[in-house]
C-alpha cells in the first residue's frame, strides 16, 4: 500500500516535471571515441539542470546528416532538429539555406560577449559578416614525426617547417634496400583536398576568389595558386621517386603505415592524434609540429564542424537550444571536450584551466594544434575558403592530386581541375538564386 503510494507520487511528480521540461533534438555525426565524448556532454547537460532535455541522435556521416536535414526541410520541416552539427565546408550552404537561426542573433539577444570567441573559429563560421554556427569540434592539420627516426638521421626537431625543409628531411629519412626499393618512406600524406587548402592558407594564398569568399560570394576557385601548385608538385614528385607513400584516399591506410614505423613523417589532422598515439603505442616516440608553408608561415584555417540552430521553432525551444549552446561554450565543458579528443577550445581562457594544463603536460603533442592556432595570423587567408559545392570540388581536387602523382604537371592538373570546379561553383551559385 505504502509502495503504491510512493510510486504514484513519483509518477505524478515526473508528470508535472515533464510538463515544464522542454525537449530539443540534437543531430550529430560523431562516431566512435568522439561519439562517446559527445554523448557524455549531452548527458552532463541534461543532468546539470531540470528544465531542458537534449535528445541526441547520431545521424551517420556529416553528409548523411545534411541529407536528413534536407529531407526534413523538404517535408515542410517535419522532424527537423533544433540543433545540428555540420562540417566546416558546409558553412556557405547552411547560410544560403535560409534554414539557420544565426548564432550571432541569439548571442546578442542574450548579451553574450562574442569577443570571448577565439578569432579563427569565429571568422570561419561567419558568413557575410555574421556568425552562423558554433565551432563545436575544431581542428587543424599538423605534422607527425617519428622522433626516433628523426634522431637516427641526425635531423633536429623543429616546430616550423617550410616545404623545402620538409622535402630535404623526407629524402634523408627514406630508407631503401639494395635494389633501390623503399623500405621506409620519408613522408606519407593521405590524398585529401584539405591539405591543399590548408597549404594555400598557411602560405597566405586563397583557395577561392574574393579573398576566400570572405569579401563577397566566391565565384571561382583559385586552387591553382603558386603555393598549391608548389605543394602538389613536391608531393607528387616525392611519390614518384618513392620518397613519399601513396596510400590513397583512406586516412587509416596512411596511419597504419606511419604507426608501424614504415613512414617517418606524416600529415594528418590534430583530431587524429588520439587514434595515432594509440596505434603507435610504445613503438617509437611521436612528435608533432606546425603545418608546412611555402615561403612565410601565415596560419592555417580551422577544420572540423559547427553546430547550427535550425529555424522554425518557438521561442521557448530556441531559448532551450541557446542554453545548450551556452553550456557547450563554458570553459569547463570545453576543457572536458578537448582533453582526449585532440580538438582545441573555441573560447578564450580554456588552456589555463588546471585540468587542461595537466593534460597538456602529460601529452605535449596536444598543444601543437592550439599553439598553431594562437600563432596563426588572423586574415582572410586563414579564415578559410567559403564556397558552395565544396564536397564536389574536393572530389575534383583529389582527382587532380592523383593525376599529378601519375606524372601530369601539377600546374596543368590544377588548371584543368579549376575549369571543372568553376562549373560546379557556378551551378551552385545559380541554385541559390533560384
Amino acid at each position: 500500500m505504502k509502495r503504491t503510494f510512493v510510486l504514484l507520487a513519483l509518477a505524478l511528480g515526473s508528470l508535472s516535471l515533464a510538463q515544464q521540461r522542454v525537449t530539443i533534438d540534437f543531430w550529430h555525426s560523431m562516431g566512435g571515441v568522439l561519439g562517446e565524448a559527445t554523448e557524455a556532454l549531452v548527458k552532463d547537460f541534461n543532468a546539470s539542470q531540470n528544465r531542458i532535455t537534449v535528445r541526441s541522435q547520431f545521424v551517420g556521416s556529416y553528409d548523411d546528416g545534411l541529407n536528413k536535414l534536407r529531407a526534413a526541410l523538404q517535408a515542410g520541416g517535419q522532424g527537423r532538429p533544433n540543433v545540428i552539427q555540420v562540417y566546416d565546408i558546409g558553412a556557405r550552404f547552411m547560410a544560403d539555406s535560409g534554414a539557420v537561426l544565426p548564432l550571432e542573433d541569439l548571442a546578442r539577444a542574450n548579451n553574450f560577449d562574442l569577443s570571448q570567441f577565439v578569432p579563427q573559429p569565429r571568422n570561419y563560421y561567419s558568413v557575410d559578416g555574421k556568425l552562423y554556427g558554433l565551432a563545436f569540434n575544431s581542428s587543424n592539420p599538423i605534422l607527425y614525426f617519428n622522433a626516433q627516426a628523426l634522431e637516427q638521421a641526425g635531423i633536429p626537431y623543429r616546430n616550423t617547417w617550410s616545404l623545402a625543409d620538409l622535402e630535404v628531411a623526407a629524402r634523408k629519412l627514406t630508407v631503401r634496400d639494395a635494389s633501390g626499393k623503399t623500405t621506409r618512406y620519408g613522408l606519407s600524406i593521405p590524398i585529401d583536398s584539405w591539405f591543399m587548402e590548408q597549404f594555400s592558407y598557411n602560405s597566405g594564398q586563397f583557395f577561392c576568389n574574393n579573398e576566400n569568399g570572405r569579401k563577397a560570394r566566391a565565384t571561382e576557385v583559385t586552387f591553382n595558386n603558386p603555393a598549391a601548385v608548389a605543394f602538389l608538385d613536391t608531393w607528387a614528385r616525392l611519390v614518384r621517386e618513392g620518397v613519399a607513400a601513396n596510400t590513397g584516399r583512406t586516412w587509416a591506410d596512411s596511419q597504419s603505415l606511419f604507426a608501424q614505423g614504415n613512414a617517418a613523417i606524416a600529415i594528418y589532422s590534430t583530431a587524429s592524434l588520439t587514434g595515432v598515439l594509440r596505434q603507435v603505442g610504445n613503438r617509437f616516440p611521436l612528435r608533432t609540429a606546425f603545418y608546412p608553408y611555402l615561403r612565410e608561415r601565415n596560419g592555417t584555417a580551422i577544420g572540423g564542424a559547427a553546430v547550427y540552430l535550425i529555424r522554425g521553432f518557438g521561442d521557448e525551444q530556441n531559448q532551450a537550444s541557446w542554453e545548450f549552446i551556452r553550456y557547450l561554450l563554458r570553459p569547463e565543458t570545453q576543457a572536458k571536450w578537448i582533453i582526449g579528443t585532440g580538438y582545441f577550445p573555441v573560447v578564450r581562457g580554456v588552456a589555463d584551466l588546471p585540468a587542461v594544463r595537466q593534460a597538456y603536460v602529460r601529452q605535449p603533442n596536444y598543444t601543437t594544434a592550439l599553439r598553431q592556432l594562437e600563432t596563426s595570423k588572423v586574415n582572410t587567408a586563414s579564415a578559410g575558403c567559403l564556397m558552395g559545392g565544396f564536397t564536389e570540388i574536393r572530389q575534383i581536387v583529389q582527382s587532380a592530386i592523383e593525376e599529378a602523382m601519375r606524372g601530369k604537371p601539377a600546374q596543368q592538373a590544377l588548371d584543368e581541375a579549376k575549369q571543372r570546379a568553376d562549373q560546379v561553383l557556378a551551378r551552385y551559385n545559380a541554385s541559390v538564386r533560384q
Partner: protein
C-alpha cells in the same frame, strides 16, 4: 543422342485457384502489407525519380520547375557520365566471367554428395554470407598498398608490390575480383541446383559408351546446364551493375574517378552534390538498362528449351 529437357519448376503452369466467397477478401488482406511495402519503398520512389528527372530544384529542393528533357540532354553530353558508364561495363565484364567460372568450379565440386560435402558447401557459401562491409574491410587490409598481406606475399616471392586500390588501372579490376569472390557462393548454389537436375542416367549411359569425365562435361553437363548458366550470368550482370557497398568502402569512386561506376555517380550527384534531379535522370537511364536485361531474362526463360 536426343534429350528432352524437363520443364524447370518456375515455368510449370500453376493449377487454377478459385477462391470461395469471402476467401478472396481474406487473401487480399494478407497480401496488403507486402504490397503496401513494395508500393511505398519501391514503386513510389521509382515514380518519384522519373518525375524528378524532368525538373530542376533549388538548393534545398523546396521549389522546383519543369525542364522537360534538359537533364537527360545534359547527361548525354556529360563526359563524367559516359566515363561512369564505361567503368560500369568494364566492371561487369570482369565480374561476370570470373564469378561464373569460380561458381561453376565450386558447384561441380559439391554437386554430387561425398563425405564432407557439407563442409565444402558451407565454405563456398561463406563468401556470400559475409556482409559486404565486413568483406570490404578485410579486403582493404589484404590489398593495402604497402603493408597488405597480398603485397607482402608478392615481395616474399621476389615480385614487387602493386598499388591494388590506389592506381586507376588496378582499382576497378581489383574491386571486380572481390565482388566476384563475394558472389561465388550464391552462383554455386544456383548452379548446383542446375547440375542436380541433370538426370544421372545420362552420365551412366555416357560411361557405358566409354566417355571420359572431360567428354561428359562438354557433352552433357555444359549443354544441359547452359540455360541455368545463362540465367546466372544475367543475374550476375544485373547485380554487378548495381554494386555499391564495396566501392563506397574501399575507393569512394577514386583514384581519378576510375571506380566511379554508374550507380556511384548517381549516389554522388544525389547525396554529395545535392543534384537529386540530375541523379534521378541517370538513375532512370540505369533503370531502363536493367529493365532491358531483366526482360531478356524473362523472355529467355519464359520459353521451354528443347534440345533435339
Amino acid at each position: 543422342m536426343s534429350v528432352e529437357r524437363r520443364e524447370t519448376p518456375w515455368t510449370e503452369a500453376k493449377p487454377q485457384t478459385r477462391f470461395k466467397a469471402g476467401e478472396g477478401l481474406e487473401a487480399a488482406l494478407l497480401v496488403v502489407p507486402g504490397v503496401a511495402l513494395m508500393l511505398l519503398f519501391i514503386v513510389w520512389p521509382t515514380l518519384n525519380a522519373f518525375w524528378l528527372s524532368f525538373h530542376r530544384e533549388n538548393l534545398l529542393g523546396t521549389s522546383r520547375e519543369w525542364v522537360g528533357l534538359t537533364n537527360y540532354a545534359e547527361m548525354l553530353k556529360d563526359p563524367a557520365f559516359w566515363r561512369s558508364v564505361g567503368a560500369t561495363f568494364v566492371f561487369a565484364a570482369v565480374v561476370a566471367p570470373v564469378q561464373l567460372v569460380l561458381g561453376l568450379v565450386a558447384a561441380l565440386m559439391v554437386a554430387r554428395p561425398f563425405p564432407g560435402v557439407g563442409l565444402f558447401r558451407t565454405l563456398f557459401f561463406l563468401t556470400t554470407a559475409v556482409p559486404t562491409a565486413v568483406a570490404a574491410v578485410a579486403w582493404g587490409w589484404f590489398l593495402h598498398p604497402v603493408g597488405g598481406t597480398l603485397n607482402r606475399a608478392l615481395e616474399a616471392i621476389g615480385l614487387s608490390r602493386q598499388p591494388w586500390l590506389t592506381s586507376p588501372e588496378l582499382a576497378l579490376p581489383a574491386l571486380a575480383v572481390l565482388t566476384a569472390w563475394a558472389g561465388v557462393g550464391f552462383t554455386a548454389i544456383l548452379l548446383t541446383a542446375g547440375l542436380q537436375q541433370i538426370p544421372e542416367e545420362l552420365y551412366e549411359a555416357a560411361r557405358i559408351d566409354g566417355a571420359g569425365s572431360w567428354t561428359q562435361f562438354w557433352r552433357i553437363t555444359l549443354p544441359l546446364l547452359s540455360p541455368t548458366l545463362f540465367l546466372v550470368a544475367l543475374l550476375i550482370l544485373l547485380s554487378s551493375l548495381t554494386a555499391f557497398g564495396q566501392i563506397h568502402l574501399l575507393t569512394r569512386g577514386g583514384p581519378m574517378e576510375s571506380t566511379t561506376v554508374w550507380i556511384y555517380r548517381v549516389y554522388q550527384d544525389a547525396f554529395f552534390n545535392f543534384r537529386f534531379y540530375y541523379a534521378s535522370a541517370q538513375a532512370v537511364a540505369l533503370f531502363l538498362v536493367l529493365l532491358l536485361l531483366a526482360a531478356l531474362q524473362f523472355r529467355f526463360f519464359g520459353r521451354k528449351v528443347h534440345y533435339g
